[in-house]
Subunit: 261 residues, 2 copies
Amino acid sequence: MTTYQEATSVTPQGDGEYAVRLAEEYSFGEAVNGGYLMGVLLRAAVAESPHAHPLTTAASFLRPAQPGPAQVVVEPRKTGRTAATARVSLVQNGKPIVDAMVTTGTLDPTSEPAYQGERPPIPPIEECRPSGHDRSGFVAQVDMRFDPAVMGWLDGEPSGRPEMRAHFRLASGEDPDPYVLALALDALVPVVVNTGNVGWSPTVDLTWHLRALPAPGWLTVHGGGRLVRDGWNDEDVEIWDSSGTLVAQSRQLARTARTRK
Amino acid sequence: MTTYQEATSVTPQGDGEYAVRLAEEYSFGEAVNGGYLMGVLLRAAVAESPHAHPLTTAASFLRPAQPGPAQVVVEPRKTGRTAATARVSLVQNGKPIVDAMVTTGTLDPTSEPAYQGERPPIPPIEECRPSGHDRSGFVAQVDMRFDPAVMGWLDGEPSGRPEMRAHFRLASGEDPDPYVLALALDALVPVVVNTGNVGWSPTVDLTWHLRALPAPGWLTVHGGGRLVRDGWNDEDVEIWDSSGTLVAQSRQLARTARTRK
């Protein structure tokens, strides 16, 4: 089995360019998973930065990517002592696939929160269940256990609120790092299945913040949303690690699936 | 008095370039307000797009801007029927000040929410109070009435949670539009004053989504946060309009002020 670390590796070509190979294993249907694409893109962004961690990533998903060769192009825009910001693009066949603004910095793993909000509730892992999808492609790379309370949509009984939550780890057994968080943030079933919008719900823009380096073990991934309107919906995701720390926050704007069950 | 519309106007120069003049009235201390800079940048982004509204803006604040001449450069990256995405930069003296990814689209003002979360509470305007700061520069352009419950920090009694909320309108009497929302999203006193972090708290990255076109009248602006850690904090803002619609959502990552009262 290819590890996630191998599948997201990048090879420097000089001048801020990196050669990558998008892995078939992280595709779902005909397109490569967006969280995985962010993972690849961020490896290049950090390799090109004097800092160690991708603090903020604002990604626009312009076109679907196919498995196979691609390039990441990093263009520094400001490099400071605390943070550095770059434009980063994943390009395939001469076209931009994902355009991002990435701010890197170096987090202190020993820092303690001055304030941390409450961790959202989720049942213990033994009361949660696998998604039940095909265990091939992207889905085979991750081990997710969903809260049964948000999975009634499978039986035509959505909860009525945009929500989704699960325990998450890589099937390979690799422990989480910032690149795994990028994958986990976009791995949930779309929250709008619980407002009856089941179908293709493509992400247009996703911004996420790395807030702390994750401890080893399972993550919990908590998705919600505030508004479904005019063919658009927001999806907010928090990831908490096994030590009870909020490690990542994201918000995406997505096209809302049109099908209503 | 210069209107906000005049202060954010842009003049096309061809090839996606726009000449702008950053207004002294929107400065605070030595730098021009970040929300105002987004308003200017977004006027150019929309002028260059086939669509009418700035749906998503992911902005990196690289350097402070000074009042006076500047340029906005718009580089289309994908133009589709539903949405168009561009790289947009505000440049001054040859240096990028704000780099953004902007996705434009056209919202339907008659659309009704399929789902909308609850509006956060705020006392009625007559129970709220002006910030009490100097009425010059940026502060003179806006009329904000703060919930007294989040203003104890002025007397050394912060609430202990990252939070801030106020009623908002332009002092000029202009009704809100998407560019006014850009201003309002970054107009609050930083939420971390209520965790005792009073001082300069610069925004590094701010992403916001326009969710609906605002109705005329006052807006309510609700700020919160989830984590203050390692010198960084998130600030989440929702704006609701006078008709009870969630019209804008933002999240920013900011350097947390070091001073603790």
